[in-house]
Point group: D2
Chain length 127, copies 4
C-alpha cells in the first residue's frame, strides 16, 4: 500500500479515470468505429473552435472577468476538449502524462528563464 501515489500509479489519476470512462462510454454505444484518430482529431479541433468563440470579441481584460454563465459554458467546452484529447491519446496508445512531462522539459530548454523573460517570441527567435 502506498501513501504517496506517483503520477502514473493507477486508476485514481484523473487522466486514467477519464480514459477508462471514455472507453466504457464508447463501447456501450458501439462508437469505436467512429473513434478513428482522424475523426477524433477533428472533434478535438472543433471543440477548440467552440472555446475560441467565447473569447473572440472580448478584450483581454474582459476575457479574465467572465460572467458566471459564460464561465460555466467555457468550463464545459474545456471539458469537451479534455475528453476528446484523452480519447484521442488512448486510441493512439499515447501516454498523455508522459508526453506532457516530456514537452515541459523541452520547453524549459527552449525557453531559458533569463532569455525568455517577459518575451513572447518563439524559441527560434530568442537569439
Amino acid at each position: 500500500m502506498k501513501a504517496q501515489p506517483t503520477l502514473t500509479d493507477g486508476p485514481s489519476d484523473t487522466l486514467q479515470v477519464l480514459r477508462d470512462a471514455l472507453r466504457v462510454f464508447a463501447a456501450e454505444r458501439a462508437w469505436e468505429p467512429f473513434h478513428t484518430p482522424k475523426n477524433l482529431a477533428m472533434a478535438l479541433s472543433g471543440e477548440a473552435g467552440e472555446v475560441i468563440e467565447h473569447f473572440q470579441w472580448l478584450t483581454a481584460e474582459q476575457s479574465a472577468a467572465l460572467d458566471a454563465d459564460t464561465r460555466e459554458a467555457v468550463a464545459l467546452e474545456l471539458a469537451d476538449v479534455l475528453l476528446y484529447l484523452v480519447r484521442l491519446a488512448d486510441v493512439l496508445d499515447i501516454d498523455l502524462d508522459e508526453a506532457a512531462q516530456r514537452k515541459l522539459a523541452i520547453n524549459a530548454s527552449r525557453y531559458p528563464a533569463d532569455r525568455a523573460h517577459g518575451r513572447s517570441d518563439k524559441y527560434d527567435k530568442l537569439g
Copy 2:
C-alpha cells in the same frame, strides 16, 4: 493516511502537477501578462490545428497506423494541447477534472446507450 486517493486529493494528480508546473514556468519567465484567457484560448486552438495537420491527408486506416516519427510528433502536439488546456483552466479558475466529470454525466444522459447505439448523430437528432 488514505489508501484510496480520490480524484482531487492532491498534488499527485497529473492535472494538478501540470497546473502547478505551468504556474512556476510562467512565473519564472514573467509570462503571466501574456497568459490572458483570450490568448491561451488562441494558443489552444492553434495547437489543435497542428494536431489536425498530421491527419488531414490520411485515410481513417492510416490514421490508426502512424509510423513512429509521426506518432511521436503527434504525442508532443497532444501534450501542447494539454498544457495550454490546463493553463487556460487555471487562469480561469476552472476545475478541469470536475468539469470533465460533469460533462461525462451530461453526455451519458444526452446519449442513452440504446438510442445512440452505433449512431454518430448529435443528441438533438437521436429522436
Copy 3:
C-alpha cells in the same frame, strides 16, 4: 460585349479563376483522391490555426501594426485559407459567392444596425 460584368459573369472573377486553377493543380498531380470534403475541411481548419498562431501573443494594438515580415507571412496564410476554402466549395459544388451574399443578407436581418450598434453580442442576445 459587357461593360459591366456581374458578380458571377465568368472566368475573370477571382473566386472562379482560383477554382479553375486549383482544379488544374489537383488534376496535374493526381491529388483528387486526397481532396475529399472531409480532408479539405481539415486542411482549411489547419490553415486557420496557422493564422491564429501569428496573433496569439499580440495585443489588439500590436495585431493591427504587424511588422513587414509577419504581415507577409500572414498574407500567405490567408492565401492558404482562401485556396482550401475555394477548393472545398468546389468539390462540394457550392457557389461561394452566392452563399456569401446570402449569408450577408441573413446577417443584416439578424443584426439590425440600430440594435446591434456598438455591441458584439450574438444575435440571439440582442433582445
Copy 4:
C-alpha cells in the same frame, strides 16, 4: 472601357464586392473597434471549427455525398469563413487575390507535378 476585366479591375470582383459590403456593414453597426486583426483571426478560426464539426464523424465517402440540409448548412459556414477572411485581409490591408496568386505559384514550385504525383507528402518530404 475594357472588354476583358482583369483579376483586380474593380468593384465587380466578388472579393472586392464583399470587402466593400463588409466595410459598410461594420461601419453601420460601429463594429470597427471589435474588428481588430486578432479578433477577426479568432472568428475565422471559430468558423473553420464549425465547418469541421459537420464532417468529423463522416467517412470520406459520406463527406462527398451530403444530404441537402447538411450541404446547405455547410454552404453558410463556408460563407462565414469567406466573410471573416475577406474582412481580416481588409483590416490588415492585404490583397487576398494577389496573395492567393502568389501562393499558387509557390505551391507550383514546391510541388512539381511529376514528383508530387499521387502523393500527399509535404513538400519538404518529396525528396
